[in-house]
Each structure stands twice: as structure tokens, then as C-alpha cells.
């Protein structure tokens, strides 16, 4: 049932917020005039620092920015003065090389510097805002081992043979942490099909504030978009969080759906391998789920 939204006196709220803003500006100028002068000389009002930060991040993006044109397909564009990657293989190889320079040899917590470098690398390579922390939450790991998961039941009565591929992976006997994706088969949209197809499991259960902020974090993490990169081969896929786990005693830090593991080429041998997993900051939901590949 849709929650009824409140009606706001928007004019009143605008006036109040504007007053607060003007007051904060005045206070800053009164107490720290040299700081305000510093920003004035840079032609930047202090309150606009966030827009300035966004411009800096945008201008840091490299020549080959990628457009996400349709689900699972993106176009490589030639940027001004720089050669674009000829094939996705070139792109993946280049990314893999750059990741090797940033990531530690062993799976250990990353330093703040490494985390920042990875964010810049993702933005430079894909034009995607990828961060280890989004808002007030971060996972216990952003670089760790991913293991193979089974298909998840998408609606009551969903069976393994209804899923398209990788049936050998099987289907979980129970539901994912957020239950069914759809209340019935005929309400299963293409979007929800993709959410199950490209799902990952993350260790929300081990977040220090999972219990104290459960109500907020449970909703926040549901289908939360993440970027998952295999540093060995540079293959990258945009996924969503649809399950919780794996348990710490497995030695793994994330779980990947059969499709995710197959794309990353980790559905072989021990069916696990190292990945970088970052949140995708995409408030307008423009980044589609699926592999990041050039148009054929």
C-alpha cells in the first residue's frame, strides 16, 4: 500500500530554508572573514563547494567516457584528443593493469588513499560515480573474495527451469534476504528479472549499526546498485544487492549470482575470486544493471 505523501507549504519552507542559508552565510563571513575572502578570490561562494567538487570530479574523467545506452550495452566514445579503446578487451586489460597498481597483493582492508584512487579510476574509465561509502553507510569490505550463489526465487512458485541461464547453479530453497522480487509471475517486470540476474549478496549482517539502524538500512540496501570488478581480468558488471551474506566462516566477503560469476569468469574451479565492490552513486537511476561492454 502506497504511503500517502504529506502536503507542504512549499513557499513557506523555501523562505525558511533560504533564511537559514543566508544566516549561515552571514555567520561564516562574520566569524571567518579571511576564509570568505579566500573563496571570493577563487570566485567560489563557500556554500557552493559541493558543486565545485562535482565539477572537479567531472573534469577528472578521462577521454574515453562511456555512455550507458541500453541495458547491458554501452557505447565507447572517443574523447577530445585521446584515443578510445578499440575493444572491450583493451578496456578490461587497461583497467586490470591500473587496478594492479592500486590494490594490495593480499586481500586486506584498503587505505583511504587506495579507496580514493579506485573511485577516480572508475570515474575515469566508465564515467560512473563509484564510492566505498555512500551517505552514512559503508560495507565491512570493498575489496574481498566473491563466491558463487544460486538463483533466487523471484515470485511465489518460481522454479529453476523458469530462469534463463546457468541452471546448474541451482535455486535457493529459501528466499533472498528481501524476499520475492515480485508478488506473482505476471508482475515480474524486465527490471525485476535483471535485479535477480545481476544480484550480489553483501554482509549487511556484519555492519556494526545494522541492528541499531535496521529499519533505515534494510530499505537502503534493498536493490542498492553496486559496481563489481574482477581485477584479474578487468571485467566489470553493475549489480544490485538482493541478498545478505556470506557468513564470515566461509572466508568469503560477497556472493554473486550465477550470471555475475559467469561474466566475471569466476564460475570455474573454486568458484571464487577477488573483486572490488563499490556503491554506485546514481540517484536518477541512469546506470543500467549488467556487464559494462561496448556496443557491437
Amino acid at each position: 500500500m502506497t504511503k500517502q505523501k504529506n502536503t507542504l507549504d512549499t513557499e513557506l519552507l523555501y523562505q525558511k530554508l533560504r533564511l537559514k542559508y543566508l544566516h549561515s552565510e552571514k555567520q561564516l563571513e562574520k566569524k571567518h572573514p579571511n576564509a570568505v575572502l579566500f573563496f571570493k578570490n577563487k570566485q567560489l561562494p563557500p556554500g557552493k563547494i559541493r558543486q565545485h567538487a562535482a565539477r572537479l570530479l567531472t573534469s577528472g574523467a578521462l577521454a574515453s567516457s562511456l555512455l550507458l545506452a541500453s541495458p547491458q550495452i554501452i557505447a565507447l566514445q572517443q574523447a577530445q584528443g585521446n584515443a578510445a579503446y578499440e575493444t572491450v578487451g583493451d578496456l578490461n586489460q587497461s583497467l586490470s593493469s591500473e587496478l594492479a597498481q592500486i590494490l594490495p597483493k593480499k586481500i586486506v582492508p584498503l587505505t583511504a588513499d587506495q579507496e580514493t584512487q579506485l573511485s577516480h579510476l572508475f570515474y575515469k574509465t566508465y564515467g560512473i560515480d563509484a564510492v566505498p561509502q555512500l551517505g552514512s553507510t559503508r560495507l565491512n569490505h570493498c575489496y574481498g573474495l566473491i563466491g558463487a550463489e544460486q538463483h533466487l526465487p523471484r515470485y511465489p512458485g518460481d522454479t529453476l527451469d523458469q530462469h534463463e541461464e546457468y541452471l546448474r547453479a541451482g535455486i535457493t530453497p529459501g528466499l533472498g534476504a528481501w524476499g520475492y522480487f515480485a508478488p506473482s509471475k505476471n508482475k515480474l517486470t524486465e527490471d525485476l528479472v535483471n535485479k535477480e540476474k545481476y544480484y550480489v549478496a553483501v554482509q549487511t549482517l556484519y555492519l556494526s549499526d545494522w541492528v541499531s539502524r535496521f529499519k533505515y538500512l534494510r530499505d537502503w540496501y534493498k536493490y542498492r546498485k553496486v559496481i563489481v570488478t574482477n581485477p584479474v581480468n578487468g571485467k566489470t558488471v553493475i549489480c544490485d544487492v538482493a541478498d545478505s551474506g556470506p557468513s564470515w566462516w566461509t572466508g568469503k566477503h560477497f556472493g554473486g549470482s550465477p550470471e555475475v560469476m559467469a561474466y566475471l569468469e569466476l564460475n570455474v574451479h573454486m568458484q571464487k575470486g577477488p573483486v572490488v565492490l563499490y556503491f554506485v552513486d546514481d540517484p536518477e537511476d541512469k546506470v543500467p544493471l549488467g556487464p559494462l561492454e561496448p556496443k557491437s
Binding site: 504511503k3 500517502q4 505523501k5 504529506n6 502536503t7 507542504l8 507549504d9 512549499t10 513557506l12 519552507l13 523555501y14 525558511k16 530554508l17 533560504r18 537559514k20 542559508y21 549561515s24 552565510e25 555567520q27 561564516l28 566569524k31 571567518h32 579571511n34 576564509a35 579566500f38 573563496f39 577563487k42 567560489l44 563557500p46 556554500g47 557552493k48 563547494i49 559541493r50 565545485h52 567538487a53 562535482a54 572537479l56 570530479l57 583511504a112 588513499d113 579507496e115 580514493t116 560515480d129 564510492v131 561509502q133 555512500l134 551517505g135 552514512s136 559503508r138 533505515y216 537502503w220 552513486d281 540517484p283
Partner: protein, 120 residues
């Protein structure tokens, strides 16, 4: 969007959630969020400069202007500020959040009475 080095401490989602629960069009919401962001950033800069000894202001502002998202800024503040910088920023953000939520609450219009209620 995480763009400033202290964003992980300010936990302002509750304010955004409150706006999401209101009938606003996209432009109105964007405008409010911009005002909220700019107010918070002014107050954060104010609070940080209050705590940071004046001799380090120029260094901090220069680095802040060059890379506002750089986590090294937190490290710098931890070295130069006496007291727990994380706690201080969190407390300031909590104070601002409380004020903003109060303004949003005051601006809510009462819900129209339902026919069922009128019949009671």
C-alpha cells in the same frame, strides 16, 4: 552524493527522506536539497575553522578548494585539532539536522479530514 570529505559523518538522509515523503515535484525537491546542502556546507566550514588553529586555515582552505572530497583532509584535521574531529562534526551535523527537520515539520499542511472522520 558523496563529494565532500565529511559527508560520511553528517548522515543527512533523514532530512532527504522527510522531503521524499512530501508532495514535491522534481524541481522543488532539487531546490530544497541545494539550499540544505549549501547551508550545511557553510556551517561545516564555520565549525571546522572554529576548531582549527588559525595558522592552519590557509593550508586547509587551499587543500579543501583543490580536492574537497579528499579523505586526507580528515587526517589533516585529526592532527591539528584538539578533540575528536569526527565527534565534533557529527554533533554539529546532528544539530543542523534537527533544525532542518523542525522547519520541514512546521511547513507541513494538515491532512484533509476524510469523510469517515467527519461522520464521527
Amino acid at each position: 552524493m558523496t563529494k565532500i570529505f565529511y559527508d560520511h559523518l553528517i548522515k543527512i538522509e533523514e532530512v532527504c527522506d522527510e522531503l521524499n515523503n512530501c508532495e514535491l515535484n522534481v524541481e522543488e525537491k532539487e531546490e530544497f536539497i541545494t539550499l540544505i546542502d549549501e547551508t550545511i556546507d557553510n556551517k561545516m566550514i564555520d565549525a571546522i575553522l572554529d576548531m582549527l588553529p588559525e595558522e592552519y586555515h590557509k593550508t586547509f582552505l587551499t587543500q579543501f578548494h583543490q580536492a574537497p572530497y579528499d579523505k586526507a583532509l580528515i587526517k589533516f584535521l585529526k592532527e591539528k585539532v584538539s578533540g575528536d574531529i569526527d565527534e565534533i562534526i557529527e554533533a554539529k551535523a546532528k544539530e543542523i539536522k534537527k533544525e532542518l527537520l523542525a522547519e520541514i515539520k512546521k511547513s507541513k499542511k494538515p491532512k484533509p479530514k476524510t469523510l469517515a472522520n467527519l461522520r464521527k
